[in-house]
Each structure stands twice: as structure tokens, then as C-alpha cells.
């Protein structure tokens, strides 16, 4: 397997205005994530993991330093270029699923493909494939309010994976799930990582998630404190 950096972080600083002073959320982070990793940013609240995830996801920009995602400098992207990066290469999984409640499971998963202008027949095939991966092919006509929390998160994973993105960013994906559903979801993601070679980057402090990570990047006060790599 080719070892190539898909995410490269160099001396990344992120500050937020806080009244008259500033709060430093990230303080000179150095990090490289390679293609196909199943890694996680681990740390307590306020350690900077969500901020880092937002910058990698081109939802926010660094105050100084560089964040390269797929070779593109996040700080130098226009809003259009950032949107294009997200549309084509990034998938997001949220803590609270964030499915569009009025649309069916099928339509929720189809949405990213509409933005990419796939044909109807291609969309249908890709959506069904994606729902098969997460085991929800029989629920295509259901709407989110009719699903359990675990099922909703599986739909969210299908939505993130349907366009086969290079990177999936998952912010506390199991926070609203019970233990059984959490393990189920994480096993699904491990399988997708293995079979599709998709890079997964988590932000979490949940032990269940941490136990599945092959690489754990511990953040503390806006900096990388230490790393642990699970041997294959």
C-alpha cells in the first residue's frame, strides 16, 4: 500500500476572539495522516479536536500555519473551492446524525450525488450500494423519524460514503448511541475503511470509539500530546 500523506498539518494555530482577548484553540499542531488510515483525535472537551476537524473539513481556516488536505492549502481556498473540496472529496458524520427529516432514507443518501450531477441511473445504483454497505437497503422509503438512533447513524454513514470520498470526518459519531449500536456502527466503518480504503478521521473522547482506532492522536490544550498506533 502506498504511504502518501492525505492530510498534512504544519504549525497550525487557531485563535478565536473572546471579548477583548483571544482564545488559542490550536497551538502549533504538526500532524500527517496517510491515505487509508483509521485515526482519531482524542482528548477532553476544549482540547481542540473539533476545531482541527473543522479546519481539515474546510469549514474553518487556520489563524496561522498550514493545513493541506489532498494537497490543497485550506487557508488559501476560496469559499467556492472549499465547497468543491467538501463536495467531491469529504464526507461528514455528525454526532446528532443531521438527516433531513422530510426526505426518505433513499433521498437523504442521494443528496450528495445530486450536488455532483450524477445521472439518475448512476445515483440509484450508488445509493443502493451504499445502503447495502450499512445494511439498510430495506428501509429506503422510511423517513428519519421512523428509524432508531442506530439506523439514523447508519444512514448518515451511507450518506457520507455514497460518493466514495477520500476522507470521512466523524465528530463524536457514537455520542447519541447505546453500546450495542455504537459497536455496530464502528464495525461498519472499519469494514468500509478496509474495503474502500477510505481515510477515517474521528474526533472523540468515547472509549468505545477509541478502542477501534488504529491510530490515536491525543490532543491536550491545542497541541498533540502523544500518539498511539495499534499494531496490525
Amino acid at each position: 500500500m502506498e504511504i502518501s500523506p492525505i492530510i498534512r498539518i504544519e504549525k497550525l494555530v487557531k485563535k478565536f476572539p473572546m471579548g477583548k482577548s483571544e482564545f488559542t484553540a490550536l497551538n502549533g499542531i504538526e500532524l500527517i495522516i496517510t491515505r487509508g488510515e483509521f485515526a482519531g483525535l482524542v482528548g477532553p472537551s476544549g482540547s481542540g479536536k473539533t476545531t482541527l476537524l473543522n479546519i481539515v473539513g474546510s469549514l474553518d481556516v487556520p489563524s496561522s500555519g498550514e493545513a493541506f488536505v489532498l494537497g490543497r492549502s485550506i487557508g488559501n481556498l476560496t469559499t467556492k473551492e472549499a465547497a468543491r473540496l467538501r463536495k467531491e472529496n469529504l464526507g461528514f458524520i455528525f454526532q446528532s446524525y443531521n438527516l433531513l427529516a422530510v426526505y426518505t432514507v433513499y433521498e437523504n443518501v442521494e443528496f450528495p450525488l445530486l450536488l455532483l450531477n450524477y445521472s439518475a441511473s448512476d445515483r440509484k445504483k450508488m445509493v443502493m450500494d451504499s445502503l447495502e454497505w450499512v445494511g439498510l437497503a430495506d428501509k429506503i422509503k422510511s423517513k428519519p423519524p421512523q428509524l432508531s438512533g442506530g439506523e439514523c447513524q447508519r444512514v448518515a454513514i451511507a450518506r457520507a460514503m455514497v460518493k466514495k470520498p477520500s476522507i470521512v470526518l466523524a465528530d463524536e459519531p457514537t455520542a447519541n448511541l447505546d453500546a450495542a449500536n455504537s459497536h455496530n456502527i464502528l464495525k461498519t466503518m472499519v469494514t468500509l475503511n478496509r474495503e474502500l480504503k477510505t481515510t477515517f478521521l474521528f474526533a472523540t473522547h468515547d472509549d468505545k470509539v477509541i478502542s477501534y482506532l488504529r491510530r490515536k492522536i491525543f490532543l491536550l490544550d491545542g497541541n498533540v500530546d502523544r500518539e498511539e498506533i495499534k499494531p496490525n
Binding site: L59, A83, L85, K87, F94, N98, L100
Partner: protein, 424 residues
């Protein structure tokens, strides 16, 4: 993509049905209120026009100067020719001769002695010619309380109030005592055909309605008339057209120094009616403006709230890679659809209810007791062309503006912040 968004819009009742109901209600109220105020102000003008002023009025110059006194000694003569000329020159208008007069009505007892007397305000108009529009114009048939409409010469209609005051009934004889146009005294006997209630305090107190040929006989006004009234065929006063018509007519007599030369005055040029017409226009526009602004603020707010409560959805769409501009445009597209649908439904409903009030009216006769101004006792709405588009100002423009304003937040907020709000 548009199909996808429309599907969501239709399914999400809080994004479609509720806003459409709010917009439709606001638009309906705007249209209805405008038509109602227009009718309220217009009805008073039309009532004065029908009974007294016409939409335009032709008189002698001398008569016009003392119009309030209805000086029949200054009446137009040679009216048959004048009427014929008016019909040729202004075929788009309907013309009617009127003689307003005053006098005393004497009711005799069975011995021929005076039983009761009372002052009367008389209107002489064409009651007996076949196809006359005057009966319809003054709504006489529907105003009949007792008796029947005059069918023969020498028959008179009395207001119900006057008939009760004089204790006379249909079929009884009454005597009119007044003065001719030459100033001599005249006494003329009439038979009471029926009694009327106009729903107007002034007229109901002491009006008498007589065929104009009888008035001519009584007042010695052969081929003469006090006034010739002109009416627009659609029945509604239009100040600009009325003034244009007057100017066109008057230009032919502008150099004539004869005080008996004819002059035409629009309703707004007659006494205090000008002030009333101006005030009416002012109030209609003012009230409509205030109402439209109020409704605009309500609907703007609705659009604003609709946009704000979708920040979560906006966050998802941005995370999926949709551009801010596209999200913004689709929000506006949706608000145009909501605004259009609401405005169309609201305008339809507003016009429907305005039509009901225009046709059947609202009876305010109970409020008019003792009133000394000439106001109709039934208020009717009046639908004008403006009512077909007026509602779209708050309905469409304000809704879209509200959405645009709330959507600006998409640009002003950082994407990460919208994303954060999505989690909230």
C-alpha cells in the same frame, strides 16, 4: 435539484403550508381592507353624485355661483337642445335633467282644511319615460316603503318620515306651495303614489320625488331645468375623467360673458365635494399604505423567521459541499414560490370577500340615526384594478425580502459557526 427541493418544500408543512397560510391571510386582509375603504369612501361620493351632484353637472354660470340655494330663476332654458348636444358630444356618459326645489307641503283633512304642513326638499326627475334610468339610479323601487311608483302625471313620492309627520298615506292628496322660476307663487296638487325610505337622515326627513314634467308645470319651467347631471356608464366617479370632460365642454363657452351661458362642473368642483374627494383619495391611499406596511412587516418577519429556523439545514447542505450562493438562491426561490402561492390565494380570497361586501353590503343604518351628513346606510366594498395586484406587495416582495435578509446571515456567519448551530 429543484425537484428535490420542491419535494422537501411540499412535504415540510412548516415550510410550505404554514407560510402560505400566513401570507394568504395577510394578502387577503390587505385586498379586502383596500376594497372596503375604497367602497366606504366611494359610496358617500356616489350617493351625493346620484342624488345631487352627478359625476358632472351642467348649469348656468349664475346658477353655479349660488348652487347651494338651487336658484331656479337662473335655470337653463332650451334644455331639449342642450341635452341633445351633450348626448352627441359625450356619448360615453348618461345625461339626466334634474330640478331641485323647495317649498311647503300641505295635507288637507276630509273637509279640505289644512291638517298638517311641512317644508319639503323636492327633486324633479324623469320618472315616467319608458326605460328611464333615474328610478334605478336613485334605487327608488327598492326604497319604496308603502304604495307604488308613480305611473301617471300628478303623482308624487314622499319620504316616509314626511308622510308620517303629515299623516298622509298613499292615495291621499297633498298640495305643494312654492314659487315659480319667475318668482310668482304656485300651488300644485299631487296625489301620493308611495312613500320612500332612503336610509339617509336628510332625505328621509322631508324629501319629495316628482316627475320632472310635473315640476316644470308647477314651477312654470317649460323647456327649462335647473341642472343636467352626467354620469359615467360604469357608475363610478373618476375625478380625472370628470375634470377632462368639464374642461372640454367649458372650452366652447369660455369667452361667453352671458351669465346664463352653460358651465359644466365635475363633482369635485362643486362646493365642498372637492375637499371630500381629495380627502377620500388621501385616506384610501393613507390607510392602504399603513396597512400594506403593517402586513409587509408581518410577512417580512415570517420570511425572516422561516429563514433563521433553517440554519441547521443550511449547515448540513454546506457540509455536503453546496455553495453558499446556491443555498441562498434556493432559499429565495422557495420564498418566491411561497410568496406567489400565498399572494394568489390571498388575492383570490380577498377579492371574493370584497365581492360579497360589494354585492350585499354591510348595513350600518343603526349607526346613522340622527346623522346630518349624506352617507349611505349600507356600506359596500368597491373592487378596483389595484386590488388585483396590491396584495403582491406584502405577499411576494416582503416575504422574499425577509428571506433575503435572513439569508445574508449565511454569508456573514462563518461556515464552522453554521455547522456548530447545526449541532445545537
Amino acid at each position: 435539484m429543484i425537484k428535490f427541493l420542491l419535494k422537501g418544500l411540499i412535504r415540510d408543512k412548516s415550510r410550505s403550508r404554514l407560510p402560505v397560510i400566513v401570507v394568504a391571510t395577510g394578502v387577503m386582509l390587505t385586498v379586502l381592507m383596500h376594497a372596503y375603504i375604497k367602497g366606504l369612501m366611494g359610496d358617500t361620493i356616489e350617493m351625493n353624485a346620484r342624488f345631487s351632484n352627478g359625476h358632472v353637472k351642467v348649469m348656468t354660470k349664475a346658477y353655479a355661483e349660488n348652487m347651494n340655494q338651487t336658484p331656479n330663476d337662473l335655470a337653463l332654458i332650451g334644455t331639449a337642445k342642450m341635452l341633445s348636444n351633450l348626448k352627441n358630444q359625450f356619448p360615453e356618459m348618461e345625461w339626466a335633467q334634474r330640478i331641485q326645489f323647495g317649498g311647503l307641503i300641505d295635507a288637507p283633512d276630509e273637509n279640505g282644511e289644512t291638517k298638517a304642513q311641512g317644508p319639503a326638499l323636492g327633486i324633479g326627475l324623469d320618472l315616467l319615460t319608458a326605460g328611464t334610468k333615474e328610478t334605478f339610479r336613485l334605487n327608488l323601487t327598492n326604497s319604496l316603503v308603502r304604495g307604488k311608483m308613480p305611473e301617471n302625471k300628478g303623482e308624487v313620492l314622499l319620504s316616509e318620515g314626511l308622510s308620517q309627520k303629515l299623516s298622509v298615506n298613499p292615495g291621499d292628496k297633498v298640495t305643494f306651495i312654492g314659487s315659480t322660476m319667475n318668482g310668482s307663487m304656485t300651488v300644485f296638487n299631487f296625489s301620493v303614489a308611495g312613500t320612500l325610505s332612503f336610509g339617509n337622515e336628510i332625505l328621509d326627513k322631508g324629501a319629495i320625488i316628482v316627475d320632472i314634467e310635473d315640476v316644470r308645470n308647477a314651477l312654470d319651467m317649460s323647456d327649462a331645468t335647473g341642472e343636467i347631471l352626467g354620469f359615467f356608464q360604469n357608475g363610478f366617479y373618476d375625478d380625472e375623467s370628470a375634470i377632462n370632460t368639464s374642461e372640454k365642454f367649458n372650452s366652447a363657452y369660455s369667452g361667453n360673458p352671458d351669465e346664463f351661458a352653460p358651465v359644466m362642473k365635475s363633482l369635485s368642483q362643486q362646493g365642498s365635494m372637492g375637499q371630500y374627494v381629495a380627502m377620500s383619495e388621501y385616506w384610501v391611499n393613507y390607510i392602504a399604505f399603513v396597512f400594506i406596511i403593517a402586513m409587509s412587516l408581518v410577512l417580512w418577519n415570517a420570511g425572516l423567521l422561516g429563514g433563521l429556523r433553517r440554519y441547521g439545514e443550511v449547515g448540513i447542505r454546506l457540509a455536503m459541499g453546496e455553495e453558499k450562493g446556491q443555498v441562498y438562491r434556493t432559499m429565495i426561490f422557495e420564498s418566491v414560490i411561497i410568496g406567489l402561492a400565498g399572494s394568489l390565494i390571498g388575492t383570490f380570497l380577498g377579492l371574493f370577500f370584497a365581492w360579497l361586501i360589494q354585492k350585499y353590503g354591510i348595513d350600518i343604518s343603526g349607526l346613522m340615526k340622527g346623522s346630518s351628513i349624506m352617507m349611505p346606510s349600507i356600506i359596500r366594498a368597491r373592487i378596483t384594478p389595484a386590488d388585483y395586484y396590491l396584495g403582491f406587495i406584502p405577499g411576494l416582495i416582503s416575504t422574499v425580502l425577509g428571506t433575503m435578509l435572513s439569508g445574508i446571515g449565511i454569508y456573514k456567519r462563518q461556515t464552522a459557526r453554521l455547522f456548530k448551530e447545526l449541532e445545537a
